[in-house]
Symmetry: none
DNA sequence: CTTGACATCGAACACTTGTTCGCTTATAAT
DNA sequence: ATTATAAGCGAACAAGTGTTCGATGTCAAG
């Protein structure tokens, strides 16, 4: 089952309750107060829903702290907190804004070429799109896709497990491009790409590591890395 | 002896601390947090002072409720609290459009603490703001800033020369936070932060590297890392 | 029909946080 | 010098609050 796009009714009720509770009491509610308000009898179910809201970036939580809940901007937007006059200003500025919505297509790991990940271009879960300002990456939405790194195999590229890699469809490379390559038919790796004579040098991003020199026929370029994103909080 | 007309210095400090704590955390502080901030070692002395502030109509308290403290109008008048600033409105505009505009404040390297980078909050070059979808990072524009990494000193954090680090103002850390710390008065580093007994474990992001175990007094947390961005093309 | 993901639940537990107690010290008034 | 009041203190305790566990139910996909 794919992740649901929208919040459940319960989760919407939780956000609304937290908001009205804060206005009334000048502090966030407790887990138990939320449960009482939205008719959940178990603190672990409240906790479960708050965790979902946190994952969807509606809430921020501080662990092991009483009333350790706060709203994100996304939550405030959902709640319609912004005054109408500010909304009018928003309308004027919005036309100038460029947001790219880039599909998060799946995972990249050490042992799977991109083709098997990329088999279906035409649809993806809205929830898993990456939104980036167009000023931050060159390219059009149609040419870009995102992959989440699965495992430690990209560490030599300074890319950690869980990082998101924004890529551009490309099967050729120029000197200095960071590319995803399918190497010798069994390994995916991210490296800087250089032609050296009739061979190819694949240079790790980590400057303390040695390059690989290979014959061109064992290298299949599968995309160019445009950006790496790491969410640490 | 008649009751003193004015507040003691300690009571004024308490009110100021509660105010700044609320702005930073979106919730009131605990009795213990107040004590720590105004150098009172006993919860009963904090309680005594809060009772005095309540008697003088600066505070309202809810009994037997965590963080059950709120300000009266008299307290707000004392603190000089004003309506939302222009900056708050600007932040709300950006949030409403789904974009966060985060100031790029300068560079972070091995040998410069954040204070010297962050000395001037009031202005920054519009050109150097990082625009990010609000769905991608928790927080409000006011609390976030970006720094560009200068040099190879953050490699153990899987952060390369030229990467951009999105940070949140924060001088405390919770277990598991990735933080920027000023270490032993001469080194800036990015690490995962854990309390271990009465010491602190600073864990590199690179899973092949060993942690550092240090005494708390040689560590100054200077911000929490929310996201790392690497532009490779 | 089976399986896996999501959601719910009560209970127990761990930890946080507020309150109370008995005492000591500081200070101002007498 | 004495007394009353204000302020401070550590410790213990009570209550609040968040987290975890093992279990069950629902529903969509296969």
């Amino acid at each position: 089952m794919a992740k649901k796009k929208s919040l459940s009714e319960r989760q919407k009720n939780i956000l609304s309750f937290i908001h009205s509770y804060r206005e009334e009491h000048d502090r966030p509610p407790t887990i138990r107060e939320i449960g009482a308000a939205v008719d959940i009898s178990s603190t672990s179910v409240v906790n479960y829903n708050l965790t979902r809201l946190e994952e969807r970036k509606y809430l921020m939580r501080d662990a092991e702290v009483s009333r350790g809940i706060s709203f994100t901007d996304k939550a405030l937007e959902f709640l319609g907190v912004v005054a109408d006059s500010v909304n009018d200003a928003v309308g004027a500025v919005a036309a100038d804004m460029g947001l790219l919505k880039i599909p998060l297509r799946g995972n990249i790991g050490a042992s799977l070429p991109l083709e098997s990940v990329m088999s279906d271009f035409s649809s993806y879960d809205e929830e898993d799109a990456i939104e980036i300002s167009s000023s931050m990456v060159n390219g059009r939405s149609q040419d870009l896709f995102a992959l989440r790194v699965d495992g430690d195999s990209m560490i030599d590229a300074m890319v950690n497990d869980g990082d998101i890699v924004i890529m551009k469809h490309q099967q050729t490379a120029n000197n200095g491009d960071m590319v995803a390559v399918w190497l010798e038919g069994d390994t995916m790796t991210l490296k800087y790409f250089f032609y050296e004579g009739d061979q190819i040098r694949l240079q790790p991003a980590n400057p303390t590591m040695d390059p690989i020199i290979v014959d061109p026929e064992v290298v299949q370029v599968q995309g160019k890395v445009m950006m790496v994103l790491r969410q640490t909080a």
